[in-house]
Symmetry: C2
Subunit: 351 residues, 2 copies
């Protein structure tokens, strides 16, 4: 402050940013240094005809009277780089996938960084590159953004918020409130990989195995699925709290019994082994590239799901609450186990 | 984790939250404790027919083919409570005002909290109350949200991200790129109050004065203005970096000279005195409830602006870049002062 403006007329500073350097409070102070940082390290990599206008507010054309889906998530994962992804890929995938849970086609994303003083610029560059690549993979534009810098010790390197909007075609009505008695329950692939990969990245497991995070945008698969059938009732991503928690939410919202077959639930051998050794339940482990799909019980929808999601498995069905509500699983041994809601603890900062 | 689920069937726990208690990692862990915290402390106060569905994604009806405006901001202000407002009022007002800068009517907001372990629940309750009140004042719904909890020392009590979408009526074309030669420049009231109030809240000034933040949603004023005239070219909120920085952005985007009259710029006596004593330049101080408005030079638009914003003042005009580009001010003494872009430093964490 204090009239600390200068009269330098050279607004188009072409000196390169030194990426061996680190974030300072000046990178968030609203002055020329911040402009240069944002333009070179962020906007240049994400530009798409809208973002680089750097208006306070993006303006999007809209020629449709379609319903609008809107979702937001903050990503505070630690560590920020891990096998299979990083916080940037997570932020784009998570928000795109949340839009897909309503059957919406992603239309635009916002991107907000909170950066810790001292963070290496090279890490930010790597994350922005990953954001650009994942957005391209999902076919979605980042249209507006924000960057704040906080003092050392007031953040854990970087927190990212992404908010997404999408458009829902007519005839699509997908929600956790829509499961019907008799419906089939699918999961689109093996569960637990993201959380086990995070434990490995944190070096919390001191034995040899190799599991990478499944983090990925799945909107193209959902678009393919909805081009084949509109008879999808629920799409839900089993992130924090895993398959069991997501199904409990569906049982609660749709007022039904979820009935699973343990021997149908796909789990990778490495994830299975780690869970056996450490005593984790894979049904409660976070995923970042899987969906639960609930649809009417028919050969047509089943085939549409299998051809849209390689690796999808039928894992259970929806029953009435005639004698009970919640999530129940027929175990390998033929018994019935209730899968409750996690009371409190779960590994924090995994997504 | 570790199968730490229990089989408690009582999903509708009615025990009150103890608001003398503090945030724990369990409040963000995805289990029942988090559900209860979010329902009682957040959703109950903000419910509107959409938010309380707690779907991963809100679905909004849309019967218009209007252009969509989208904006995001993270709020990391310190302290979180100050004279005239708090971080909650700031988060809603800031995003609503950013939507207004494109002439959009706010349609829906997302709300994402990052909370620090140990934060008093009573503070969160106060902030959510303020968010609800400000959203009601602005007439906008919060339709989706997210809550993360990070360990003590990884945040500064609370960071809030709000993303907003709005709809732009036909015939409206407002942007920092649209200033024209001959246009009049207005500011909607006295400048500098927010930043001076923040300095006071931080106890950085050890003398007697009373300045409160101007933080407020201004969308209703903008709607009134646009109902009277469509001939508005630029609306811009002079937040971080103040009036001078915002006008520099307009000069850059519209490729013009901004010419100000120092004796027309409204400044409250207390703000003026503080600036005199401490040596601040009020033109670079942050505002959170003011707009710069640029419109064609005519009695009709001038009258529309004055009747929509009590306290608005004509402070300058747009000139061609014939001999110079940037922001210039005719001073009290009749000289010309160039108002440059801040190079780096500014008081951080004020908005």
């Amino acid at each position: 402050m204090n009239n600390n403006n200068n009269n330098n007329d050279n607004d188009n500073d072409n000196t390169p940013l030194n990426n061996t350097s680190r974030i300072t409070l000046n990178h968030g102070a609203g002055g020329r240094e911040m402009q240069k940082f944002i333009n070179k390290l962020i906007v240049d990599k994400l530009k798409n005809g809208i973002l680089e206008r750097l208006d306070d507010c993006a303006v999007l054309e809209n020629h449709m009277k379609k319903r609008i889906a809107m979702t937001t998530d903050s990503y505070v994962v630690s560590p920020i780089f891990f096998d299979g992804g990083d916080i940037g890929r997570l932020a784009v995938s998570g928000t795109v996938n949340d839009l897909s849970t309503s059957g919406a086609k992603p239309y635009a994303l916002s991107l907000a960084f909170i950066l810790e003083e001292g963070m290496p610029l090279s890490s930010i560059e790597k994350i922005v590159h990953s954001i650009a690549a994942t957005a391209a993979e999902a076919g979605v534009k980042i249209v507006t953004g924000d960057t704040k810098v906080v003092e050392r010790g007031k953040c854990d390197q970087i927190y990212i918020n992404t908010c997404g909007i999408g458009m829902i075609d007519e005839g699509i009505n997908i929600s956790t409130y829509n499961a019907n008695i008799g419906d089939s329950i699918f999961v689109t692939g093996p569960i637990g990989n993201h959380e086990i990969a995070m434990l490995r990245a944190r070096k919390m497991l001191d034995f040899e195995f190799h599991t990478v995070s499944d983090v990925a945008p799945l909107n193209k698969n959902v678009e393919l699925l909805l081009s084949k059938t509109k008879k999808i009732r629920v799409i839900k991503d089993p992130t924090r709290g895993g398959l069991a928690s997501a199904l409990n939410e569906i049982a609660e919202h749709s007022n039904c019994e979820v009935y699973l077959y343990e021997n149908q639930i796909p789990i990778d051998p490495d994830v299975h082994s780690v869970c056996e050794i450490v005593g984790f339940d894979p049904l409660y482990l976070a995923n970042e590239g899987k969906f639960i799909i609930i649809a009417d019980h028919s050969a047509e929808t089943e085939s549409a799901i299998y051809s849209s999601f390689e690796g999808a498995k039928l894992i259970g069905k929806i029953k009435s609450t005639h004698h009970r509500k919640g999530v129940f699983m027929e175990t390998y041994s033929g018994g019935i186990r209730k899968l409750g809601v996690l009371e409190t603890t779960q590994l924090p900062r995994i997504c």
